[in-house]
């Protein structure tokens, strides 16, 4: 499943044919603690082609208008998960949405709930803290096999969905519980735990379930589905959280 923006296309015509380039307004929340304590909104007129992604438009601003615009990006193809941002109020990867699908004025903010360091760059440490807390690595209690740890296709399919996570933080920073209570593990950490809890080769399920049973664990989830809606990989995040709840409730995987 691919996340799509349901807004009607603002400028459907091909830009290349007309003489005047089609432009879009990027309204970006800028923040530089070295020069001002307050964040401010700045708007930029950006020419674009129908095939341009939002990341192209932002990079155009950085290269042609204001080089001080700070953001994280790396692969630009939806794999590394660096460029998650809040686009028109919902979390998206800038490299996975097209400018033409986002309307004539696009509002761009850093992802919410994590301290902003500069412009679109946030401090990801609280997010990684929660990730580390669920022990996202293989835990075994038997002897190390001389060959691979084999697994049936059915056992593999059990947690296939949650292996797709790229840790962009779009889900965790779309969660209203996380916004208000930084203690909540957040959807991503639960997805990471889910990936190992339901892995037949892993023996640490009880440990992880116990961690997620804490006051700030899965029971804080209010099933608002913001996380599922935000995930650029189409992971059914809320479903994964519900499966963890069910595993805790019935003590059975």
């Amino acid at each position: 499943m691919t996340v799509v923006d349901s807004r009607p296309a603002a400028a459907p015509g091909p830009a290349a044919t007309g003489p005047a380039p089609v432009t879009v307004t990027l309204k970006i929340r800028r923040f530089d603690p070295e020069f001002a304590a307050e964040a401010r909104w700045e708007s930029y007129q950006v020419p674009f082609d129908p095939s341009d992604r939002l990341l192209d438009a932002i990079m155009w601003v950085k290269w042609n208008v204001d080089g001080s615009l700070a953001l994280r990006r790396s692969c630009a193809h939806g794999v590394c998960g660096s460029d998650a941002m809040r686009v028109n109020g919902v979390n998206r990867l800038a490299c996975k949405v097209l400018v033409k699908d986002l309307g004539p004025e696009i509002t761009i903010e850093p992802i919410k709930g994590l301290p902003v360091e500069k412009d679109l760059i946030v401090d990801m440490e609280p997010f990684f803290d929660a990730f580390r807390a669920v022990k996202p690595y293989l835990i075994t209690d038997d002897h190390e096999p001389t060959r691979e740890r084999l697994q049936s296709a059915e056992d593999r399919a059990r947690f296939d969905d949650t292996t797709k996570c790229i840790m962009c933080a779009a889900c965790t920073t779309s969660c209203p519980v996380f916004w208000n209570d930084g203690e909540y593990f957040g959807p991503q950490a639960i997805v990471a735990a889910h990936r190992f809890i339901f892995d037949s080769r892993d023996a640490g399920a009880d440990e992880r379930l116990e961690i997620l049973n804490e006051r700030e664990g899965v029971w804080r989830c209010r099933t608002t589905f913001n996380c599922t809606n935000a995930c650029p990989r189409g992971i059914q995040v809320t479903k994964a959280i519900q499966e963890v709840k069910r595993a805790l409730l019935f003590r059975r995987l």
């Binding site: 307004t25 020069f35 919410k112 609280p126 916004w179 208000n180 209570d181 664990g217 029971w219 409730l249």
Partner: protein, 153 residues
């Protein structure tokens, strides 16, 4: 659109990170994974909300139907009507269960809201104390009336 106030001069850079407006800086009180008391309280609270919600659906709708719609509705409700109903242990039990479930369901809901939105530890504590006190008063008073109701008053 013109840009808002240009950044104040480069002359005296103050490198102190400013306070950031909520909710952009989360209130993390302890590190996740730090030693905590292990308990199933949140699990039980979650299950309680589901079960009590389901029961309340029937209890409250039944109550509203009897009190407001059946046989002339709310006009006939007076001391005698209540005394008549409470002569049967069934209706006393119905009202008692409804009172307890509704009050605890609401209290737990508000507890979650306070946990979500009250940021300062002190505020959380006092709001919750207020909540628990009011819940205790309502439950005690209601239970007392149901058990000690005297139709000959």
């Amino acid at each position: 659109m013109a840009t808002a106030a240009a950044p104040s001069g480069r002359g005296a850079p103050e490198l102190v990170a400013p306070e950031l407006v909520a909710p952009r800086s989360p209130q993390r009180r302890t590190k996740p994974g730090a030693a905590k008391v292990r308990s199933n309280f949140e699990l039980y609270a979650w299950v309680f909300m589901r079960i009590s919600g389901l029961l309340l659906f029937f209890l409250v709708l039944g109550h509203l139907f009897i009190m407001n719609i059946l046989d002339g509705g709310v006009q006939r409700v007076n001391f005698g009507f209540v005394a008549g109903r409470w002569a049967s242990p069934f209706w006393r039990l119905w009202d008692l269960v409804m009172l307890l479930l509704a009050e605890l369901h609401g209290t737990n809901g508000l507890r979650t809201v306070i946990n979500d939105y009250a940021e300062r530890a002190q505020t959380r504590f006092w709001l919750k104390m207020l909540l628990y006190t009011s819940a205790f008063l309502v439950v005690t008073l209601g239970t007392l009336v149901i058990f000690t109701f005297d139709p000959d008053l």
